[in-house]
């Protein structure tokens, strides 16, 4: 009846989606880069061991019943003088197995990092799309706020937000809420990058024909932004998200180390390093060293992966 081309008649795909993906430039570049492969493996091992911590960890460090104070300060791989128990990475002052506390601590570090980046991403994408699509006063207010925030280092912004949020929460809930306050603080300190990139990509996409077409058939602005523009601006967002994750993990560790982050009842890797620093002079090096090395491995491998992703997704650098 009409002359519209039949959209169903696309060429028959004779390969599965998986096979197509495996032949893409992206996978080819990945297979050729030892750095990318090694850092992916390290990230996977660390994330999986954090997720399955309750299954892997020999003890539950937060269950008082499983602790024995006599096991305190046991060196790695050496039997304890009183109980004869041996621990892979030693124990801390309260007899908690360091290996188990690291696994559980990494859970909190990763949870805070991922949640903060997701929060920053959703906030940044929303504000970026809105300011890019609508322009005018909304754009001025949003982007000037971003500029003001960029004047200050993000760790300082995160500290301030943490301090204010702590002041607002009633004393009895402070320890319980600390993790969520931390996510809020790091997320709010990090949305600017996302908003800037999404806004400039939106400005480019907005003037293309497909957006005009969508507008012509009467789609609402919200639908155009989410269904049409958003999918086309996602690849730089992915790169920023990966690099932000490394930064967020380090920011969380720094705040917790300074004593303005995860509380001792829910220690993250930063809190563990803070605790370990106290035993640096008395010779119990393992309480400090192993959490620090884990944090480094985590932050470094996520960072390297982000760098590689940026190069691989940027066609200009090929």
């Amino acid at each position: 009846m009409t002359d519209t081309p039949n959209l169903e008649k696309t060429p028959v795909r004779d390969k599965s989606r998986f096979a197509v993906a495996m032949e893409s430039d992206f996978v080819y570049a990945f297979k050729r880069s030892p750095v990318a492969i090694v850092s992916t493996v390290v990230v996977l091992i660390l994330v999986l061991s954090a997720v399955f911590a309750p299954l892997i960890a020999p003890t539950n460090p937060f269950d008082p019943a499983s602790l024995n104070l006599m096991n305190g300060f046991t060196a790695p791989m050496e039997p304890n003088a009183f109980t004869g128990d041996t621990f892979l990475l030693g124990t801390d002052d309260q007899g908690r197995d360091v290996f188990s506390t690291i696994l559980y601590g990494m859970r909190i570090s990763l949870f805070v990092g991922v949640a903060a980046v997701l929060f920053a991403m959703v906030l940044g994408i929303t504000l970026g799309l809105i300011s890019g699509y609508f322009g005018g006063w909304t754009e001025t207010i949003i982007m000037r706020t971003a500029d003001v925030q960029l004047t200050f280092p993000s760790i300082l912004v995160a500290m301030l937000i943490f301090g204010i949020a702590k002041g607002v929460t009633p004393v009895e809930y402070r320890d319980q809420m600390a993790i969520w306050v931390l996510i809020l603080a790091i997320g709010l300190s990090d949305w600017v990058q996302f908003a800037r990139v999404v806004r400039s990509a939106t400005l480019v996409e907005k003037s293309k024909d497909y957006v005009a077409a969508a507008r012509l058939i009467g789609r609402k602005p919200g639908a155009i932004m989410l269904r049409h523009i958003l999918p086309n601006v996602l690849s730089p967002v992915l790169v920023i998200a990966t690099i932000s994750l490394a930064l967020a993990i380090i920011a969380e560790a720094t705040l917790s180390f300074l004593g303005v982050g995860a509380p001792p009842t829910q220690p993250s890797l930063g809190t563990l390093i803070r605790i370990g620093q106290g035993f640096l002079f008395s010779g119990e090096w393992w309480i400090l060293l192993f959490p620090a090395v884990t944090l480094l491995a985590l932050a470094l491998s996520v960072n390297l992966l982000g760098d590689w992703l940026r190069d691989a997704l940027n066609p200009r650098l090929r």
């Binding site: 003001v148 004047t151 200050f152 280092p153 760790i155 300082l156 500290m159 301030l160 943490f162 301090g163 204010i164 702590k166 002041g167 607002v168 380090i250 560790a253 720094t254 180390f257 300074l258 004593g259 303005v260 390093i273 620093q277 640096l280 002079f281 090096w285 400090l288 620090a292 944090l295 480094l296 932050a299 470094l300 960072n303």
Partner: protein, 326 residues
């Protein structure tokens, strides 16, 4: 030129007003100041009297204006935790932070430029490559881990340098300095390396890439053809022309040094403003937090403004562009 300057100053003023609003909001809405100042046994009469005395019964705008008026005069109220005027505490703590920042800044600039030039001139040498790889690790190590590592090596294992505090200080007027005693100087070494390392690697990498760019230019080749000595070519001709972006970065990094002093001061228990701020957050000492926020934003906004204006003055191309546009 003048229009640009005025717009830039107005923007900075607006930023400071907004930050002032945040600081004031902290005072006004985070916890009740009356609660913080009066003890358990208080009557409604006491509360009303104090409310009147502090001007808390006035409209929001009046209170905000009064807050700004006080802040400009350096009056930030009384610390909830120490019971002393915040301005006194800040003045007492400022020398420690400023001395630490000055030494780290000097270290970062001197070492950064020297290593940057070195790695650019010997860009295929073993030492230069080693320095470049080492700097990558320096960038990815979090500041507090660098501090702990240094403490472990130089205080715990070797026992050469102190791991915390400022050592003995000498009092000159209102200023306490650690520069004049041996323990004071020793105490400065580890914290200033910790604080300056990141900025040093940043400056080094920047100088290196700028130098490599400049060394390819024709006038360098001509200078060599004229038979000038390597040292003259490298420093007089090449380095001088890399300074423009380096100065900008150094200016912008000055602010970060003060901000990152928070972390270094905590690791080394350095009695400066940063440690004061962290303790204020831990104990929700709002007046100290607000004062620190105001102080650091004045500094950041001021440095940004100066760098922008300097850029404008140094680079004639920027001026030409703007003149052409009007």
């Amino acid at each position: 030129m003048l229009a640009y300057l005025i717009r830039r100053v107005a923007q900075s003023g607006l930023v400071l007003l907004i930050v002032g609003m945040v600081a004031f909001g902290m005072f006004r809405f985070v916890g009740d100041p009356i609660d913080n100042m009066l003890g358990q046994e208080r009557t409604q009469e006491d509360i009303d009297r104090l409310r009147g005395q502090l001007g808390l019964d006035q409209p929001f705008a009046v209170q905000y204006f009064r807050f700004l008026e006080n802040a400009v005069q350096g009056n930030f109220g009384v610390s909830y935790r120490q019971g002393r005027p915040v301005s006194d505490i800040l003045l007492e703590r400022a020398p420690a932070t400023l001395e630490l920042a000055a030494v780290s800044g000097f270290l970062a600039i001197a070492m950064g430029i020297a290593l940057g030039v070195f790695t650019a001139i010997r860009r295929n040498g073993f030492t230069a490559n080693f320095i470049m790889s080492a700097s990558l690790i320096g960038v990815s190590l979090p500041t507090f881990l660098i501090g702990i590592l240094l403490i472990y090596i130089f205080s715990v294992e070797l026992g050469w340098l102190p791991s915390f505090g400022r050592g003995e200080t000498v009092r000159i007027g209102n200023w306490t300095t650690g520069f004049l005693t041996e323990t004071g100087l020793k105490a400065l070494v580890l914290p200033s390396i910790t604080l300056g390392l990141y900025q040093m690697t940043l400056i080094m990498r920047l100088v290196r890439s700028e130098m490599l760019e400049v060394l390819r230019q024709d006038y360098i080749r001509f200078a060599r053809a004229r038979g000038l000595r390597d040292r003259v070519v490298n420093f007089r001709h090449a380095l001088k022309n890399t300074m423009m972006p380096v100065i900008t970065v150094i200016g912008l990094q000055l602010g970060s040094i003060i901000a990152f002093a928070i972390i270094t001061e905590t690791v080394f228990q350095w009695p400066g403003v940063g440690l004061l701020f962290i303790n204020a957050i831990q104990f929700v000492d709002i007046p100290v937090m607000a004062a620190y926020l105001m102080l650091i934003s004045v500094m950041f906004v001021g440095i940004n403004l100066i760098v922008d204006v300097l850029y404008f003055l140094i680079d004639p191309r920027l001026r030409a562009d703007r003149a052409g546009a009007h």
